[in-house]
């Protein structure tokens, strides 16, 4: 439900990057969205369509989403495991002393612009 707010953040950052690189038109914005980032990719692209089309720089541009896997680390047996499948409990030693290593990122990876 916070996807629209995040879209406004993305637009702000892309506008800034476009200004710094002398870009006046953006074809696509590529995002890395972690599996457990609580951002729903479908909602994000829906909100993007609505908000991006209100900006000259971004009208008609596509938001491409790479979903990146969530990985947790067990402090007791020093192994990584997939977070979504096993949650807080380590599948190797059943420890609860685990923490998320990656998979909650909401990151602008790159922008695609006309090459002229």
């Amino acid at each position: 439900m916070h996807e629209l707010g995040i879209v406004f953040y993305i637009i702000r950052d892309v506008k800034q990057a476009a200004g710094e690189n002398g870009v006046t038109k953006v074809n696509a914005v590529v995002m890395n969205i972690g599996e457990v980032s609580t951002v729903v990719p479908e909602y994000l692209t829906d909100c993007w369509r609505w908000a991006a089309d209100k900006e000259d720089l971004l009208r008609g541009s596509e938001l491409k989403v790479n979903v990146t896997p969530a990985v947790s680390w067990c402090e007791d047996c020093h192994q990584e495991y997939p977070t979504v499948q096993y949650g807080k409990t380590c599948p190797f030693c059943a420890s609860e002393h685990t923490f998320l290593r990656r998979g909650n990122e909401v990151e602008i990876k790159e922008i695609e612009v006309p090459n002229d």
Partner: protein, 224 residues
């Protein structure tokens, strides 16, 4: 020539907010104003708990409240009428959370020179407010008994960012399948440091424990 050029950005969408929040926290420290970010679901009793808490603390601390909602000013008016302290209403313009910049704009409207404690009552929501650092010194949340003891499992981020969890509406415990011990266990899975205080804001039971905790927090933070 490739018709498309790729420009690498590699930037977290939250990076600017995290920076703004860190700066705000530093400024608050300079001014000696403790900012508490209070979060919960809609209807958990944030405003009622605050009114009771402020009643117990207003002789010891100079307090202001910032109410964040999507619309209306009912909460700010309620706090002002019930406690006589300064309270202002922030509108998030449809957004489901407050970020550090919005918090700063709100703080510009309170007289920071003559305050010890500002309580930010965030938008009622267990998802989005947890994502955005407001610049607060401490995050606290209220969970109410009718919501269920499983909420720390369903909203892990909220519980991992809060160091204080107030469990409200303890008076209705007999009517719900809410297991307080189980709930505490789930909370500590998310945040081993989290403290839990059961209260009933309606009768005031336990609110004194929360108020004492908050007073101690503000005092020890000011001395640091």
């Amino acid at each position: 020539m490739d018709p498309i050029k790729v420009i690498e950005i590699k930037k977290s969408v939250f990076a600017d907010n995290d920076q703004d929040a860190a700066l705000l926290r530093k400024e608050l420290k300079g001014k000696g104003v403790y900012l508490l970010n209070l979060m919960s679901s809609p209807g958990s009793g944030k405003t009622t708990t605050l009114i009771k808490t402020i009643g117990l603390l207003k002789d010891s601390l100079r307090i202001a409240v910032m109410e964040a909602d999507i619309d209306s000013d009912v909460d700010a008016v309620k706090i002002r009428e019930a406690t006589g302290i300064r309270s202002i209403q922030l509108h998030t313009g449809g957004m489901c959370h407050l970020d550090a910049e919005m918090t700063r704009q709100g703080l510009d409207n309170v007289d920071m020179e003559n305050l010890d404690l500002v309580i930010l009552e965030n938008v009622g929501n267990l998802v989005c407010p947890a994502e955005f650092d407001t610049g607060a010194v401490c995050n606290a949340m209220i969970l109410s008994v009718p919501e269920g003891d499983d909420k720390p499992l369903k909203y892990p981020l909220m519980f991992s960012v809060c160091d204080m969890v107030v469990i409200n509406k303890m008076d209705v415990l007999p009517y719900f399948d809410f297991d307080l011990d189980k709930c505490k266990k789930y909370i500590r899975l998310r945040n081993p440091k989290a403290q839990v205080i059961p209260v009933c804001a309606k009768t005031g039971e336990g609110v004194d424990v929360f108020a004492a905790w908050l007073l101690e927090q503000v005092k020890s933070w000011k001395q640091q």
